[in-house]
């Protein structure tokens, strides 16, 4: 048993190394100068240099990218979760003809990943006059997040006991009142899961904003990181500082939501 655990710890150590070293390379590299990096690519900071981080953190460009990404992600998440929960309610707590057909239609969306549809979407957005507009990115992202939102919420809402609904209706609540006052509060764990999924998807998305925005003041963080890298190829240290700072929101969000994400994935696998 002890030997098995030894092997386990060794493997764990290797895994940590593989995962963490690239992250450390970025974070520590930001504390070096480009000259230091060029002479010893795998060295440690010595002496520590704060300039790179200070410059990036005080540049309006970085904060604008952050703001753009946040705005788009919030709009996309809100739209997907509000409309998705309404649809999931209709598809889980009403009996009507065509219900399964509607549901199948939405689940088909799981097979249409946003990447595949981007070129046609671009043409469509151009026709709607939504290019260079945050909504031009947020609305399609919301649309493509709807299927997974509905697929996760529907079984969850369905599992809430009928007795609760009967009791509410007997007490004189309208069906929509039941939805708003009882079902939604009870669905909070699932709502958090789908919100996290929609938010992260939007936050990290690259291809659609790449096509929709050509004016760099509209860029989102992923676009900005790639652009910064290609514009500062001679200044590795600054690119590393920029990249390190741009990782912070996603990593923070992940630390806060980690348990939720795992729980949500469990739910989605079990259907």
């Amino acid at each position: 048993m002890a030997r098995r655990n030894m092997v386990g710890y060794l493997a764990a150590f290797a895994v940590i190394g593989m995962t963490v070293v690239p992250l450390l390379f970025v974070i520590l590299g930001g504390f070096r100068t480009t000259a230091q990096i060029n002479t010893a690519p795998a060295g440690l900071p010595g002496p520590f240099v704060w300039d790179n981080y200070a410059e990036v953190a005080t540049s309006p460009q970085f904060w604008r990218l952050l703001g753009n990404s946040a705005l788009i992600a919030v709009i996309a998440t809100t739209l997907a979760v509000v409309l998705g929960s309404m649809a999931a309610f209709a598809l889980s707590r009403y009996a009507f003809k065509g219900r399964e057909a509607f549901y199948t239609l939405f689940t088909l969306g799981l097979l249409f990943p946003l990447g595949v549809a981007t070129l046609p979407l671009y043409l469509w957005l151009r026709q709607l006059g939504l290019l260079e507009n945050p909504l031009g990115v947020a609305i399609p992202e919301a649309a493509f997040s709807l299927p997974v939102t509905i697929v996760i919420l529907r079984p969850f809402m369905h599992a809430i006991p009928n007795e609760l609904e009967d009791a509410a209706l007997l007490d004189g609540a309208a069906k929509l009142g039941f939805f708003w006052r009882i079902l939604l509060p009870l669905s909070r764990p699932a709502l958090i899961t789908v919100s996290v999924l929609a938010f992260v998807t939007s936050w990290n998305f690259y291809l659609l904003p790449l096509l929709v925005f050509s004016d760099s003041t509209n860029f989102t963080l992923p676009l900005g990181v790639a652009m910064f890298q290609s514009e500062h190829t001679q200044d590795t240290a600054k690119v590393l500082a920029f990249t390190a700072l741009s990782m912070i929101p996603a990593l923070t969000f992940f630390v806060l939501a980690e348990r939720r994400m795992v729980g949500g994935l469990t739910g989605s696998v079990k259907g």
Partner: protein
């Protein structure tokens, strides 16, 4: 709580009754219709307008030779499709997608299972380990691409490390050598996505009752036998979902490749999606690009249908036929 619900009801609403209550039956049916419309139509509009319509429109554009401006006049039928399939570059791109998909299943799946089994043990610092493994998954592909682009520079971090541990002979032009670039990208993809498989499988492992392992152990099964014959079969549904997501993801690979290599050198790392953006978007061949988009879509769709039919059927039988 109930009384609050009553006061928020619009004053014009009919007195609520159980649906079967005599005289108000018809009115409540109308009301139900209205409620359904109110609940479903916004989502349907969004979904149709931004998921279904663009794909339908693409199918239409794909029949024309069109630079994206002006009216569609130059009808070419299926020529765009024929051109795409007969071009070496696109054939190569499909091949690259297939290589990545195959490698993902063959390499990442055993790796994920191994890591998940490891992390499912009672090791000290297990929670921390799980977070570490999952961390790269939350980074965007763009950030991942930039990190590895810098590490893989000739004479950069990776080369330096290899030399330091006496493996200097392995140093390559990781991203500039056309016979290696695809495999370099695959390593980066694995780094980023392995955590997802691990978390998925860990979730699946939580569904394996400990009694089953204990029973197997009591019957004299070794740890390996228990894993192979008890645990793995029970992970089946999770593994099949992972394979599905992984293949679909591989077929649409774009961000990493675009930022790291633009599909180069000499198209050695192009994928269907980079080809699509390169031709459709950068060269203003929107009719042709639409055809490529439709092809990409059909490939994903056909794979999904077949996979659904033959592999996922058991697992999703409940989920897809709906709740009752």
């Amino acid at each position: 709580m109930m009384s609050a619900a009553i006061t928020t009801r619009p004053p014009t609403a009919p007195v609520p009754h159980a649906p079967a209550a005599g005289g108000t039956r018809r009115r409540s049916r109308v009301r139900t219709r209205l409620e359904l419309a109110l609940l479903l139509i916004p989502a349907l509009l969004l979904f149709t307008g931004f998921v279904l319509v663009p794909i339908g429109v693409a199918a239409y554009y794909s029949l024309f030779s069109w630079n994206g401006f002006g009216p569609l006049t130059d009808f070419v039928g299926l020529d765009n499709y024929v051109d795409a399939f007969s071009g070496d570059v696109f054939q190569g791109a499909i091949g690259h997608n297939l290589i990545i998909a195959t490698l993902s299943v063959v390499v990442q799946l055993p790796l994920s299972i191994g890591l998940a089994l490891l992390l499912n043990r009672k090791l000290r610092g297990r929670t921390f380990l799980r977070m570490v493994v999952f961390a790269p998954y939350v980074l965007s592909e763009a950030v991942t691409a930039v990190i590895w682009l810098l590490m893989l520079q000739p004479g950069g971090f990776i080369d330096e490390i290899l030399r330091a541990i006496g493996l200097g002979g392995l140093v390559q032009l990781w991203l500039a050598d056309s016979s290696i670039v695809l495999y370099t990208l695959f390593v980066v993809i694995t780094w980023k996505y392995i955590g997802f498989g691990v978390i998925l499988l860990l979730a699946g492992l939580q569904g394996v009752p400990p009694e089953l392992r204990e029973a197997a152990a009591l019957d004299g099964a070794s740890a390996w036998q228990t894993t192979r014959h008890v645990v793995l079969p029970l992970l089946g549904p999770t593994i099949r979902i992972w394979v599905f997501l992984s293949v679909i993801g591989s077929l649409q690979l774009f961000d990493l490749v675009w930022i790291m290599t633009l599909g180069g050198p000499a198209n050695a790392s192009s994928t269907m999606a980079t080809y699509l953006v390169d031709h459709g978007f950068k060269r203003y061949e929107f009719g042709f690009g639409s055809a490529v988009a439709v092809i990409l879509f059909i490939i994903c769709f056909v794979f999904a249908l077949f996979y659904q039919r033959f592999a996922l059927r058991r697992d999703t039988a409940g989920a897809m036929t709906g709740v009752r």
